[in-house]
């Protein structure tokens, strides 16, 4: 039971992080390698700010989301958009988008490592966690908030993509960008909006993780980046609901490995899942019938 709860907490943070990546990749075709750095740097900036003023938990989370959105927006505006505009072909654009993301990621990492001397940093907040004990299971208020926020946003975003007009436009871009544009979808504006949402989710995930673990290392974004690949591939590219389930499955599988005492194999879980899923079910567990974005 305790393990189940831990899995849900871990999975919810994974989920918020992966949702942003899945959203940008599955719709506007941007595989953002700077997503991990956005996640880390949002928390880092909040850490700098809270060094001067103390904020409430909501204040911290809102600020982190806002900073994440700003970083993501800038990346799209200054790097990805120019690359897409100049690209000769889709495949050359894909490679350059990955490279651009890698380059962008190095910059906040360098700044954070320099300022903190690569030591973990913690956010100062007026929030204090309380721990409830229900039938031998320990549940902290932080875990509860993480799970509720993760599930609400996960389900909300899935429904929004499925039901709303913007969601339809985004799915249209994901299916056939040029035709969608011909039908009156404003591609660049929508891309900016998508990246802002993705960045905000990264910032929010970062803020919540900082509360959950009470500290964060500058390098923590990289590990999460690879895990996010696993979740997206697991769920199926373009399927938000799949990413939600993928996040909890991965968290569960990792937890299981730890319980079984196979701690050194934990990292192999995400890599192994990516590999096996791609091999036997490339469309993902919940993906549509065909691998589209080849």
């Amino acid at each position: 039971m305790q393990e189940l709860l831990n899995t849900a907490t871990l999975g919810s943070i994974y989920l918020l992080f992966a949702l942003g990546m899945a959203l940008a990749w599955g719709t506007i075709g941007i595989l953002n390698f700077a997503h991990g750095a956005t996640f880390m740097f949002s928390v880092f900036v909040v850490y700098l700010i809270t060094g001067a003023v103390e904020l409430s938990m909501i204040g911290v989370l809102l600020l982190a989301a806002l900073i994440g959105a700003a970083i993501s927006l800038l990346t799209q505006l200054l790097v990805f958009q120019p690359i897409v505009r100049r690209a000769r072909s889709h495949s050359s654009a894909e490679l350059r988008i990955i490279l651009g993301g890698i380059g962008v990621a190095a910059i906040p990492l360098a700044i954070a490592e320099r300022v903190t001397n690569s030591a973990p940093f913690a956010i100062r907040s007026s929030y204090e966690a309380t721990v409830f004990s229900i039938g031998g299971v320990r549940l902290s208020s932080t875990s509860l908030i993480v799970i509720i926020v993760g599930l609400t946003i996960g389900i909300g975003l899935t429904l929004w993509i499925r039901r709303s007009k913007q969601g339809l436009a985004l799915r249209a871009i994901g299916t056939d960008a040029e035709t969608a544009e011909g039908m009156g979808v404003h591609r660049e504006l929508l891309a900016l909006g998508t990246m802002a949402v993705a960045g905000a989710l990264a910032g929010l995930a970062g803020g919540l993780l900082a509360f959950q673990l009470s500290a964060m290392a500058p390098e923590s974004g990289d590990t999460l980046l690879i895990k996010a690949f696993a979740m997206i591939v697991l769920g199926g590219l373009g399927s938000m609901g799949g990413a939600v389930i993928g996040a909890y499955v991965l968290a569960g599988a990792e937890m299981l490995m730890t319980i079984l005492g196979q701690g050194t194999w934990v990292d192999a879980v995400s890599f192994g899942l990516i590999f096996l899923i791609l091999l036997f079910r490339p469309q993902g567990l919940f993906g549509r019938k065909e691998v589209r974005r080849a």
Partner: protein, 316 residues
């Protein structure tokens, strides 16, 4: 000259091995196969060579050869397994393959030395020998980049179905890309390990993939020349920007971003364009600029295939 060589011997050796490492990604990507398996091959080659020396007591060159063979075979088998994947999906699968190598190394017990790594593989290979090997590899690679062989490769990358219709065995090309990438990656790993006398799981990580990828894309994916330019830039950059101290990574990131946005064909593409402009200016006659990719495909298309037969279906 000898003084310069002696004081920079590590940088020179790193440039050479980085060139090999990056070539192991450039070869498949040039054929349109987006594979990171070469980096995994680096780990396999490094570990195999170290195990052969430490546990079996093999001398340097047989150990390296074993590393190359094992890495090439492993990567080839991977190529067969992931044959139906393409694009970013193939990238993901090979990324997973590469990262699994280091987890296997961590859990390999006394064979791989676990998380601490394997020590004591004291190879006798020196820098001039490495140079000779790299020159040999580059000669072979450039043989496959020139003339009709190069144009066939361009066709396989730009339009696989057209290439298949021209009688090019596309799936065989792709498997060969895996084999070559594995052999060269394994070579890079074996040489690096035996020079350093040790290898650890932490060396075969995401960072190594990122390094190789930035080297080839900033240098230019079109040819081995770009790979060499990229390797020189990224190995020597720290010594050039030593004055900025710890901000080195910031400079690195900025260079990578600028290259991604402004140099679609990498540094090699920029150099080629400058040379072409200079020639035009010298000859002073108006000449039309040709784009790099289109004429090569046209050349393949207009050239009747010697066998004149469509032998292979579209790669599925």
């Amino acid at each position: 000259m000898t003084g310069w060589f002696a004081s920079n011997v590590i940088l020179i050796q790193t440039t050479l091995t980085t060139t090999l490492l990056a070539l192991s990604l450039q070869i498949p990507i040039r054929l349109g196969v987006f594979s990171f398996a070469g980096i995994g091959a680096f780990g396999i080659g490094g570990y195999t060579a170290a195990i052969a020396m430490v546990h079996l007591g093999w001398p340097t060159y047989p150990a390296i050869l074993l590393g190359v063979v094992v890495a090439a075979v492993a990567t080839y088998i991977l190529g067969v397994i992931v044959q139906r994947l393409s694009g970013l999906y193939l990238g993901m699968a090979t990324l997973a393959f590469t990262l699994i190598i280091s987890v296997l190394a961590v859990n390999g017990g006394s064979l791989t030395g676990g998380a601490a790594g394997l020590f004591g593989a004291v190879g006798t290979i020196d820098v001039p020998q490495i140079l000779l090997i790299v020159v040999g590899v580059v000669l072979v690679v450039s043989y496959f980049e020139t003339g009709s062989r190069g144009r066939r490769a361009d066709a396989v990358r730009e339009d696989p179905s057209l290439a298949a219709a021209m009688g090019i065995h596309v799936s065989r090309y792709r498997l060969m890309a895996f084999l070559a990438s594995g052999a060269i990656g394994g070579l890079a790993g074996a040489i690096t390990t035996l020079r350093r006398t040790a290898i650890s799981p932490a060396e075969v990580n995401f960072g190594l993939i990122v390094l190789a990828l930035t080297v080839i894309i900033v240098g230019g994916i079109g040819s081995w020349v770009g790979v060499l330019i990229g390797a020189v830039v990224f190995v020597w950059l720290p010594t050039w920007v030593a004055f900025v101290g710890q901000w080195e990574d910031l400079i690195y990131g900025t260079i990578v971003v600028l290259a991604a946005v402004f140099m679609p064909d990498g540094a090699h593409g920029v150099i080629k364009m400058l040379i072409r402009r200079l020639r035009v200016r010298i000859s002073r006659e108006p000449r039309t600029f040709e784009t790099a990719a289109l004429p090569s495909i046209r050349a393949v298309r207009d050239r009747p295939d010697s066998r004149g037969l469509v032998r292979d279906g579209v790669d599925s």
